[in-house]
Amino acid sequence: MAVSNWTNRFDIVWLRASAELHRDVTRTYLGILWWVIEPLLYMTAFYLIFALGIRGGEGGGGFVGFLLAGLVVWKWFSTTVIQGAGSLLANRGLMQQVYLPKFLLPLIPVTSNTLKFLLVLVLLLVYVWIFQRPPGWDWLALVPVLLAALVLVTGCTLFSAALVPFAEDLRMLINNGMLLLMFLSGVFFNVAEFPEGVRGWFYLNPLVGLLEAVRAVLLSPGLPDWWRVAYAALFGGTLGLFGIVVLVRFDRVYPKRVA
């Protein structure tokens, strides 16, 4: 019984996540291409503004890789957290028909967006290989870095999914705060170049260290700052644990709150 219970839970998340990917692919003419077009459009916009505009063209080719690496990871984080924050509300009807463990609901966007991210990551690696740097053994360091990123994404998603039904204001805060957070995460600038006094504050945001780590591995030889990677994992792990505890504790209260 216990084993089939967990199989059932895994099946729920897996089937719903693949249904979401399937819908993405079938409902538009370009289908799966949108997963690639979207970051490319962002990239072009930021490149025009930051490399050619503000920096007066001195950024050059290196800036494209820098931007892409940041954007791809950022997109994974922001889309998942936004979808996850609304995941209990989006399934309010389902929740009234059957009992299902609520912590599964935010894990659905985590799964679907992580699969999308992996596809886009492959394209990013190809780009870096062709235009910036051939792959080396140090690319393997990407595995622990991305695992830490997965912990951070999952943790923030569980945390927001757990709290949003108690105060929908939080959802508005997340939706509106994402843009600000993008500016604070070093998606299109290098925080390491900031003055000493300001930098420390920026690193409190775990995304800053994480994006730096991804770039450190991909774009230049050498290894990332493991302390910053560990900080991101710890940050995500703590939020995720809190989220799970709340989701389990109020498992049968949510259907009343979001009715």
Partner: protein, 235 residues
């Protein structure tokens, strides 16, 4: 608890309150105030009451979707009670087959187990080749039939029914209600909620009357039905 050997489900002085107002508000609305009754193995209990008496809340409570805020709801260990819920989690872009599997999984089956039921679901729903077409191409009747087929395949220990005996077109309505009756005659334990005394008289051996969130009468159908009718007649 020695009296529970055959008892599948026991509700005792159960109440459910819904929060009214914001997160910090202490104000509550008691949708169910004080309900008690037992369901024994193989029994069909009818629950009757006017609109707003708390019938839907009671079903959600029995299905384990929500918990009582006072009193208790006891399930015999291992007994699964679930709503006869139609078209649970159906998504228009998936095929009939994929929807049937997804729905079965949401109702508690593993994907493997769900796939073994596909043939019987398709047969019952009279859908045939369309099972591999997207649900968005289905007529309302086809969706209803597929939904009912899945609900039957899920077969919980205690079936909770919220007057859904009328889905689909007339021939299918007859077929689905015949199917339910057959299940019930075959010893399926069930709780049927309705505001129609006629439906319940046919299906149930026991009746519970709910009024303003309280179970006011409960017992054998022939005893309780006249009490209910008297209550309704007196307003």
């Amino acid at each position: 608890m020695g009296t529970h050997d055959q008892c599948l489900l026991s509700v005792s002085s159960a109440g459910v309150a819904y929060p009214a107002g914001g997160v910090f508000s202490r104000h509550k609305h008691w949708a169910l105030a004080d309900v008690s009754f037992d369901l024994y193995d193989g029994e069909v209990v009818g629950v009757i009451g006017r609109n707003g008496a708390g019938k839907s809340t009671l079903l959600k409570l029995l299905a384990g979707i929500i918990e009582p805020d006072r009193g208790t709801v006891w399930h015999k260990p291992g007994v699964r009670a679930s709503l006869l819920a139609l078209q649970v989690g159906f998504l228009p872009t998936l095929t009939g087959e994929e929807n049937a599997v997804l729905s079965c999984v949401l109702l508690g089956m593993t994907r493997k187990a769900a796939k073994t039921r596909l043939a019987s679901i398709a047969e019952f729903a009279e859908i045939g080749d369309a099972m591999s077409e997207p649900l968005s191409t289905y007529s309302t009747g086809m969706r209803a039939r597929l939904g009912f087929g899945v609900a039957l395949a899920a077969s919980p220990d205690v079936l909770l029914i919220d007057e859904v005996l009328g889905v689909g077109d007339a021939p299918f309505r007859r077929k689905s209600s015949a199917m339910l009756r057959e299940r019930i005659a075959g010893g399926q334990s069930a709780i049927v909620v309705s505001h129609s005394a006629n439906t319940l008289k046919e299906l149930c051996s026991k009746l519970v009357v709910i009024d303003q969130g309280r179970s006011v009468f409960s017992g054998p159908m022939e005893e309780v039905l006249p009490q209910y009718e008297a209550m309704v007649a007196n307003g």
